[in-house]
Symmetry: none
Subunit: 277 residues, 2 copies
DNA sequence: TGTTGCGTTGCAACTTGTGCAACACCCATT
DNA sequence: AATGGGTGTTGCACAAGTTGCAACGCAACA
């Protein structure tokens, strides 16, 4: 819509492929060198491009800073939600998303089971930190000293016979979880409820959230639930990908793209699109 | 230099602070709403801006993707990253990598502390150039005349009682840093935070980047932090070695890029992206 | 010393972006 | 249901900003 801005912005993807000199930029835009120069200067003033010593232009650091800020404002929940819904549509069970905050682990999102028998939980409520699968994942990511400090501080209520009995057992469990990259809660909180959970990580690999699938025994056995593990992990990884900016967020706007396939040529759109490929 | 582009680019930092509606954007630019609308549309077409359902604009995914590519083009970063991670694993504190660009010193990589008390910083953001340990190293390597020119140009905000008070003190500090080959920031930026830093050099001995370890007083005292100096220097030297081609790159796995991918993350459905290049 | 290749500048022509005013729309009031 | 203020959106005429040109400066090369 705005020619000048349009051209200026088109420079950035070019530069993303690697440094380029004035001539190349001008060619790429199909404009005179002087025009390209002025655009580059404006970009430069804003720190979006950097002019290296050999007079080649590179993407600038301000771009990185902006993206970083953008990601900071990104809500894990916002990104995760559609994935949680999709997972729920696939397996039908209750799906949770939780974060660690001030020595508590809190549910921040939930998609209800489609089975009539549901487990009780509530968004914003602290989870049973010593037994919940999501809590194990979140705490397992802390540095060793911190982990021990937290473990000592906690109470270990015996909800069931399978609840984590004390700090030692908890730390051992955390070590295991940390190692394997996923966690379970098999009747540790309520006798008849099992969970499988996987971590959501940021660009640095830190666990920022954890998601789980929960179901009561009367619907599926623990073993059956465990068969969902790969799916849960894939979902968590997909969320991680978007959260860290690795995967471009699927924008609701259809990309203008040079789609080689005419829209009409697509298969009769039956499958509800398992994990968008 | 180019008004339109200038305005368009000014929108992005605004949006980085949080979502804004058309009116706010127009105000911020001091232009008519219709003008702001057209600029936003152009940004939107390029994916730099995303329009959420409540008709507020926020930074778009394309920006994040670009920044990601920009970082991949920084080869120091790529080489340094595994070293930074290893250092973080050893000491647990926040590790930074910074470069000098256009009279600014910017963080280009960061590995978060594993302790819950973290210092605030952001990749891509300019550091407090007059006090940061990494900034001292990078500026200390400039030729004397340039060093003085830069020192004169700078502001010397008194973040704390220990902040560098002015150009003279700064130049003296730079001379010392240049001499000893490492630098510190002991509460110069934030009262309770200390840093130790060491330079990364290219084959010609010029400082191309600097890395630091930072930790708040509540976690370790300044003296304790200083005991890490040899380790920090060794790490920086190792990076220098690889960067200058002296040390054969001993990558455990020829990882495609510095991908901080979590262990559990399989290739998350490769993006068709990249288009025909 | 001339030549080629690059980035840079001033300027006149005109394409482009601008502000305006009117319109369409949503939501909260009455 | 009708009203009113608050949004975002559109077409248009004007001029302001952007464009390409041609000329210049400045390297590196031969």
């Amino acid at each position: 819509m705005s020619q000048t801005v349009d051209r200026a912005l088109s420079i950035l993807p070019l530069l993303a492929e690697g440094p380029a000199d004035l001539g190349r930029v001008a060619d790429h835009l199909g404009v005179h060198k002087s025009t390209a120069l002025r655009l580059l200067r404006t970009l430069h003033e804003h720190g979006f491009v950097y002019r290296q010593s050999d007079q080649h232009y590179r993407l600038g650091a301000r771009l990185i800073a902006l993206a970083q800020e953008a990601m900071e404002n990104l809500d894990v929940r916002e990104i995760a939600h559609p994935h949680l819904v999709r997972l729920n549509e696939t397996c039908g069970h209750t799906v949770h998303l939780a974060v660690h905050e001030d020595d508590e682990v809190l549910y921040i999102d939930k998609v209800e089971s489609r089975y009539p028998v549901r487990m009780y939980s509530r968004i914003g409520k602290p989870v049973a930190i010593t037994v919940a699968a999501v809590a194990k994942l979140l705490l397992a990511d802390l540095p060793e000293s911190e982990r021990r400090a937290v473990a000592e501080k906690l109470d270990y209520p015996l909800y069931t016979a399978r609840s984590t009995p004390g700090a030692d057992a908890f730390l051992k469990e955390l070590a295991k979880v940390r190692e394997q990259g996923w966690a379970t809660d098999l009747g540790g909180h309520e006798e008849s409820i099992n969970c499988v959970a996987a971590p959501v990580r940021d660009a640095g690999g830190r666990v920022v959230a954890a998601m789980s699938v929960s179901a009561p025994n009367v619907v599926v056995t623990a073993d059956e639930l465990l068969t969902l593990l790969p799916l849960v992990r894939r979902t968590a990884d997909a969320i991680s990908g978007e959260y860290s900016g690795r995967t471009p967020v699927q924008s609701p706007v259809p990309a203008p793209a040079h789609s080689p396939v005419p829209p009409s040529a697509q298969p009769p759109a039956h499958q509800p699109d398992k994990e968008r490929s």
